[in-house]
């Protein structure tokens, strides 16, 4: 019997299940290429490992353990003990891929160090690691069950349906990929049209985006309820992979013509204007004009949605020769050590620091409230992922989400503004 047309997710999952094909909705057991795990829940994982009585894990070479949520063993926290316990366990198990504080986010460790490659299947603990889909790698988020995948070198999944979003046009002046994903979330969350899907992006508009921009789209997709996301890697993506694969194998996986999609959407990127997402919903995006004038206390640039080199370049474009408003604290967090080094080399850190930014160590920092905790009624604007109440401290604090131009411009103005006039006046 001929194999029916398959989506990218179906093909990658079928291979990992040792099958020719898998059906949408089918429950299958798959063997991952990697399992990516952060440290925050490590004490619980360790308790569970001890409870089950795990002596040796079968594939220490597949485990990627990354300390990215607690970027320091800070006073008053229990994180220093977590770091020690994780290091000791990794040493005992022969896990070489332990990335300590300062290495940055799992998302970037996976792409920058040649783990995420076309066709690889990664079990991880978070949906935003879909950003590795930029290289044609499939993230399957299983939360705290990552430890189960490490224990068994396999886990069960339900094969997700797929959706397709076709991008045309090019981003206009002062518009970022973050603005685009804010528009997609605004339109695609309430009716659940992407719920539980693997979203494939394609189209000429995608080809015109940088790899950093593409990762911003993928990283924020999960707010719609989508399960994961992926892109067919083009020449730009494949060059990036070849420079980093260290001889590890990969295989480009493309969707079959005629593959079935639960939802098909298309967006003209040139029609998108700067947006701000209003709390508490991740899909509450509005044109920036609607919230212009909103006074802010804090601004932050970073996270898996907005801490890559292009984001820091965008912030520096606005902040060069300007100063952060006296009543505002601006935090900037490079997404990884590599981004930090590149930002230093390009002189971006100098521009940001001279403008008055507090540059933090690579990691999640303000996005989960580890740093930049907000007081009652304070207002923040951020490139981070989350804006629900209480995410960053007080429930009465409000977090507006935006792209790096809008956040940097708000930090300077002390209030939310359309970033384009400031950008137009910026030195080239």
């Amino acid at each position: 019997m001929p194999i029916p047309a398959r989506s990218i997710a179906q093909k990658i999952i079928a291979r990992a299940a040792g099958r020719d094909t898998v059906e949408v909705g089918e429950y299958v057991t798959v063997t991952p290429d990697y399992v990516a795990c952060q440290e925050l829940f490590w004490p619980g994982h360790k308790r569970n490992l001890d409870r089950i009585g795990v002596d040796r894990i079968p594939r220490p070479d597949k485990a990627l353990m990354v300390i990215d949520h607690s970027t320091s063993g800070a006073m008053g926290s229990h994180h220093h003990a977590t770091h020690r316990s994780l290091r000791d366990w990794c040493a005992a198990q022969g896990i070489e891929n332990l990335f300590g504080p300062g290495n940055g986010l799992r998302h970037l460790v996976l792409t920058e160090r040649g783990f995420a490659r076309p066709g690889t299947l990664v079990f991880s603990d978070e949906g935003n690691i879909a950003s590795i889909g930029v290289l044609g790698a499939l993230n399957l988020p299983i939360s705290t069950e990552v430890i189960v995948a490490i224990i068994q070198d396999a886990n069960w999944i339900a094969v997700p349906p797929s959706a397709r979003i076709t991008l045309t046009g090019a981003l206009g002046f002062g518009v970022t990929a973050r603005d685009s994903i804010q528009a997609i979330l605004r339109d695609s969350t309430a009716d659940g049209r992407l719920l539980q899907c693997c979203v494939e992006f394609d189209g000429p508009g995608l080809a015109a985006l940088t790899l950093d921009d593409r990762q911003t789209l993928l990283a924020s997709l999960f707010h719609s309820g989508a399960y994961t996301g992926i892109m067919e890697p083009d020449a730009l993506a494949l060059d990036y992979v070849r420079e980093r694969d260290q001889g590890r194998p990969w295989d480009v996986v493309r969707a079959d013509p005629g593959a079935e999609y639960m939802t098909r959407l298309s967006y003209d990127l040139s029609a998108i204007a700067p947006m701000v997402t209003v709390p508490p919903d991740a899909h509450g995006g509005v044109p920036v004009d609607q919230v212009a004038g909103q006074r802010i206390d804090q601004a932050s640039i970073g996270s898996c949605a907005g801490g890559r080199l292009d984001d820091l370049r965008a912030a520096a474009r606005v902040l060069r020769g300007r100063k952060v408003a006296p009543h505002v604290t601006l935090y900037v967090t490079p997404g990884s050590r590599n981004v930090y080094v590149e930002a230093a080399r390009e002189g971006l850190l100098e521009i940001l620091a001279e403008a008055g930014a507090a540059v933090l160590a690579p990691g999640c920092t303000t996005c989960w409230g580890y740093q930049g905790v907000l007081n009652d009624n304070e207002v923040s604007i951020s490139t981070q992922q989350f804006n629900y109440q209480g995410r960053n401290g007080s429930r009465s604090a409000r977090v507006f989400l935006a792209g790096p131009y809008a956040v940097a411009a708000a930090a300077v103005a002390g209030q939310i503004v359309d970033p384009r006039p400031m950008l137009a006046e910026a030195a080239p």
Binding site: G25, Y27, T29, L40, F41, W42, P43, G44, R47, N48, R51, I52, G53, V54, D55, R56, P58, H69, H78, H79, T82, G127, P141, I142, S143, T144, E145, V148, A149, I151, Q152, D153, A154, N155, W156, A158, P160, T189, A190, G192, L195, Q196, F222, H223, G225, A226, Y227, P280, D281, A282, W368, G369, F386, Y388, Q389, G390, R391, G393, S394, R395
Partner: protein, 183 residues
Amino acid sequence: MTHAIPRGRVWKFGDDVCGDDGIIEFAIVAAGFGKEFDEDALRAMCFRSLRPEFPDQVRQGDIVVGGRNFAHHNHVEVSVAIRASGIAVVVVESCDAGFLRRALNNGLPVMVCPGIAAAVADGAVISADPATGIVTLPSGQVLHARPFSERMVQIWQAGGTIPLLEREFAARRAAGQSQGGTA
């Protein structure tokens, strides 16, 4: 394997209920990430911002019925809070895959059952069987959710993934087998 089919009183919630800021309160929970779950604290905060009477009045075996996109943005403590409150099963109009998975991993079955929100009133008594996907309303009318796989039923019946693995590894040790194996 046979199992008791959950049957209980419904606590009904609406569409787009946020997990981290609605079912639980993130700022309180985040401070304890990595520590043992404080089930008493989670029970005390469960649903209180939406239904202040919930923590006091919920009974063992009650059922939560949710609307569209139920429990979006949920850390694992959301599932633990609902389970620790005594809820036997959660039946929703729709939810993301992560909630379903985190809940089951912690012994709480979540069934995606389109039509449930319109068909059931708060306080009604329904039965819901994750193994077959059959939801039976007070009128006798039946709705269908996607049935769990055999493995999912095993996880549910064991009270979560970790208790199941604990048992399976102990059995292997007793049989003199090495570790590793199936998921």
